[in-house]
């Protein structure tokens, strides 16, 4: 295992792929199918563009981010694992203290495969969801960021497919094929998770998606990076470094929308929504409704609040908690409890349940804390503009479709409400058709170097220390 990547091979890798001819041949057979998938369902209208992309030439810090203009189709998708840690021990669950596994134990094979397939399925799904966004990019800089995300989601698919091919034999190869066959939003053959079948219709949705939903990816990967199955832990660690860029695009994207709106509010000295919309900026209440939507849809991704699967994944060592290694409890959690929400007498109250069964909720709460911190940073942008408005994350029971809270109607401030009150307020809490139509009306492509659509501020700095007006994409 070396940290450098052999680019002379058909599939760049740092896993000595050429020493395992069977695996190499299997992946080389999968590769053209991947390229076909990319051609068919990847970003539209970008075949000839040379994009200023970041490519890893090794997994150590020096080679991690090499920048250059490349056509996306020629991006060197490959297999990169973080370096192995010598004598790594399992640090939670029933196998605590034993050696980490380099191969899949037979008894956990089905669960591991399921986790890897579910994670892998989200990667191509998001590329599919975002494929038309290039046509309405607010700037060349943003378009480049979209494409960077797209190629890296493609690489994440590679990461998961490698594990399937290497460790799961024929089943794994079949699953790897199926990952290229399912389609986001396809009624007959949809992607596995609900949120990944929703369209990403506009750039505000894209920024919210990358802020919230890619953050779900971060927390899932963090939990998998703790796994007793060492190849999964190592590949997840490398993916996390890439995932960070996606969240950056979301956080800074929303932040720049806020910045532009606040500037317009101060220039026009108004908070009148219709005047602001007429001026072509996205009013803060609309931003709040988009936030409510993406936040609530994303926290559903963590699954049911009580789950025996989650307990099994943990006790068997397949999936840890966020920052498992930094926690100071017994890492087995037997006999411990955790609070989850339920309704009693028309009110949401917390009940204590065995912590092992509540691990989805534990991860969801970690996510919520992380998400809300970023909402706080957005509010600083509003504060700086001296505008009396604050964005807030809604209550975690708001607009839920999974778990014990799924059948409830809950207001953003956490009151259990009637169906009538829900209906009366739906358009005040979640983006209405009119909101979506308005946001869609702002979407028009701006792609000259240094030019930005009216509804978004330029970023504070460019990519890789380049100026903001750098030619991030060469349209050929």
């Amino acid at each position: 295992m070396s940290t450098s990547i052999n680019y002379s091979e058909k599939i760049p890798n740092n896993v000595n792929l050429n020493e395992d001819r069977t695996l190499q041949r299997a992946l080389e057979q999968w590769q053209p199918n991947f390229i076909n998938w990319w051609d068919e369902i990847g970003p539209t209208g970008a075949q000839d563009s040379e994009v200023y992309l970041r490519t890893a030439t090794s997994v150590d810090p020096a080679g991690w981010a090499q920048f250059g203009h490349v056509k996306m189709r020629d991006y060197r998708w490959g297999i990169f694992l973080n370096p192995a840690q010598e004598n790594r021990k399992i640090h939670f669950g029933d196998h605590l203290g034993q050696d980490a596994w380099n191969d899949v134990p037979g008894e956990y094979r089905a669960n591991l495969r399921r986790i890897i397939v579910t994670q892998g399925d989200t990667e191509p799904a998001s590329v599919e969801q975002q494929r038309h966004l290039g046509l309405t990019a607010p700037s060349m800089y943003d378009l480049r960021n979209l494409y960077q995300i797209n190629v890296e989601e493609g690489r994440h698919l590679w990461a998961m497919v490698y594990l399937l091919h290497k460790h799961f034999g024929r089943d794994g190869r079949e699953e790897a094929e199926a990952l290229l066959v399912r389609r986001s939003g396809d009624e007959n053959n949809p992607r596995i998770l609900g949120a990944f079948n929703e369209a990403t219709p506009d750039w505000l949705s894209f920024f919210m998606f990358t802020y919230f939903t890619d953050r779900d990816g971060k927390f899932q990967l963090c939990a998998l990076a703790e796994s007793a199955f060492d190849p999964l832990a190592r590949t997840s660690k490398f993916m996390l470094t890439e995932e960070a860029h996606h969240m950056f695009v979301g956080e800074s994207g929303v932040s720049r929308v806020i910045q532009r709106t606040c500037a317009a509010m101060n220039e026009m000295k108004t908070d009148d929504v219709s005047k602001l919309r007429a001026a072509g900026v996205i009013d803060l209440p609309t931003l709040q409704r988009y936030l409510n939507f993406h936040y609530s849809v994303t926290i559903d991704l963590f699954g049911a609040d009580e789950s025996s699967n989650a307990a099994a994944f943990y006790t068997t060592g397949i999936k840890g908690r966020y920052e498992e290694g930094k926690r100071t409890d017994d890492h087995q959690l037997r006999g411990q409890t955790y609070g989850v929400l339920e309704v009693r007498d028309g009110k949401l109250v917390e009940k204590q349940v065995p912590m092992l069964n509540a691990l989805n909720e534990v991860l969801r709460d970690d996510f919520i804390k992380d998400s809300i911190a970023g909402v706080g940073r957005w509010n600083k942008v509003i504060d700086k503009a001296a505008i009396p408005f604050q964005l807030t994350a809604p209550h975690k029971a708001f607009h839920r479709n999974i778990g014990a809270l799924a059948q409830l109607r809950v207001s953003p401030d956490g009151r259990v409400i009637s169906e009538n009150e829900w209906k009366a307020n739906h358009d005040a809490w979640l983006p209405s058709e009119a909101d979506r139509a308005f946001v869609a009306s702002l979407m028009g492509r701006v792609d000259g170097p240094g030019q930005f659509a009216n509804w978004i501020a330029p970023p504070a700095m460019g990519i890789n220390k380049n100026p903001v007006d750098f030619e991030y994409i060469r349209f050929n």
Partner: protein, 438 residues
């Protein structure tokens, strides 16, 4: 180590406005210097060894911030955790006051700002040096002694001690300062005209200027050599003229005050003045002419002269439609933006015509960056060019740069899985690796 070194450090800080708290830096840091709370990610000045491992994985650029502070007054972790914005850089006088009562001259602080800014490249090249110690760098190993096959035939030594005429008299027709007044850098663009006498030059060639008067020993001055900055058909096309880029030398290489005889003579010339010129010189560092040739130009300071000449000739060819997709890629290093000659005009060249990478080693508030850093950032493009038979590499500028540039190319080749020894042998043999450093 001087007093300032002992008391000042360049403290690594993270910009809380741009940071998205993704934890990548903390996960990357090999010495555990980065930590966080619910509000900020911060760097412990006691632990950070400026290894730069966290810089490239950071998705936001917020990681790359440095402030010169007194060693005893670094920003503590507790303090950084309360920040909403980075503090402004301290002015030299404030720093001097902060130095725990030790008086530190402002000039030393400024020098320290420049010296102390950490650089991945510095570390890298010193590592490369250590690794290659057994095999010391030698220009002759890499630099071509022949011109590229498509170069035009050069005329050399038409005027000089061993030629029929000892010199040619030229007339100054222009002398413009191209760096901003008020900075330490005084670079001039000087146009000279040869009247009706033949003086054919090609891009990449140089000429000699004989300063008037005698040296300390009473002998006439030796000619000083300068690269031509204009294309073959003249600074002004159709006239028998050429331009030079000359930096006024006010200090010797060790920093001691010293007025360069020829550069000061040249920079002080007025329009209409006559000067003695010898040359032309140079039969190897010549521009490839075939229309598919790619030129990779790597230079510092006035080493930009031949690059400007080649770029301008290509630009004229392009305007007349004689161009076939050959690429131009420029890496241009200077201490600061203010020091760059031709900064304005180069910036306005179309980006599809020339791919320009400016690098500043001493820009205020930025870590040092050298041409080789920029080259590493462009590794993907350079790796392709290294194996392209139409690509030509030109390196011109300070001697100190050459080795770093060659090693950067070596690392790029090796990272891309290329056979570096074979590539550099071929580049040398085919006249496609031209080194001109001084």
């Amino acid at each position: 180590m001087n007093a300032a070194d002992a008391h000042l450090i360049s403290q690594h800080l993270i910009d809380p406005v741009i940071c998205i708290r993704c934890n990548t830096c903390e996960a990357t840091c090999p010495v555990g210097a980065i930590t966080h709370d619910d509000r900020n990610y911060v760097v412990d000045a006691e632990k950070c060894n400026s290894c730069m491992a966290c810089i490239s994985p950071c998705p936001t650029g917020s990681i790359d911030n440095w402030r010169t502070v007194a060693k005893m007054k670094t920003y503590s972790i507790a303090e950084q955790l309360t920040w909403d914005d980075l503090p402004e850089p301290l002015a030299a006088d404030a720093l001097a006051e902060n130095g725990e009562g030790t008086s530190i001259p402002a000039a030393q602080i400024l020098a320290n700002n420049a010296l102390n800014a950490p650089s991945g490249a510095l570390d890298f090249s010193s590592a490369a040096l250590a690794a290659g110690a057994a095999n010391a760098y030698a220009t002759a190993q890499y630099g071509a002694t022949v011109a590229p096959w498509s170069a035009a035939h050069p005329y050399t030594h038409l005027y000089g001690a061993k030629a029929a005429a000892p010199f040619i008299a030229a007339t100054v027709t222009g002398n413009v300062r191209v760096t901003d007044a008020g900075t330490d850098y005084d670079t001039h663009h000087i146009v000279i005209d040869f009247g009706t006498m033949p003086f054919p030059v090609l891009e990449g060639q140089s000429i000699g200027v004989i300063p008037p008067g005698t040296d300390a020993n009473g002998r006439p001055h030796n000619p000083r050599q300068y690269s031509i900055a204009s294309p073959r058909n003249g600074e002004r096309p159709g006239y028998n003229n050429a331009s030079l880029t000359i930096k006024r030398v006010l200090a010797d290489p060790t920093g001691k005050s010293m007025r360069g005889v020829a550069s000061n003579y040249m920079c002080d010339l007025s329009v209409g003045d006559q000067l003695k010129v010898v040359g032309p010189f140079g039969a190897s560092f010549l521009m490839a002419n075939h229309p598919k040739s790619h030129l990779v130009m790597i230079c510092t300071g006035t080493g930009s002269a031949p690059m400007r000449a080649m770029t301008e000739w290509r630009r004229r060819l392009r305007n007349s439609g004689k161009f076939e997709g050959g690429k131009l890629m420029l890496f241009f290093g200077a201490r600061t933006k203010e020091e760059l000659p031709y900064f304005g005009p180069l910036q306005s060249l179309p980006k599809d015509f020339i791919d320009i990478n400016f690098v500043y080693s001493r820009a205020t508030g930025q870590p040092k960056k050298y041409v080789q850093d920029a080259m590493r950032e462009r590794a993907a493009d350079l790796a392709k060019l290294l194996v392209d038979k139409d690509a030509h590499f030109y390196v011109c500028g300070l001697k100190a740069m050459e080795e770093g540039v060659i090693y950067a190319l070596r690392d790029i080749a090796q990272s891309a899985g290329l056979d570096w020894p074979a590539i550099c042998a071929r580049l040398k043999q085919e006249g496609r690796m031209q080194l001109e450093t001084y």
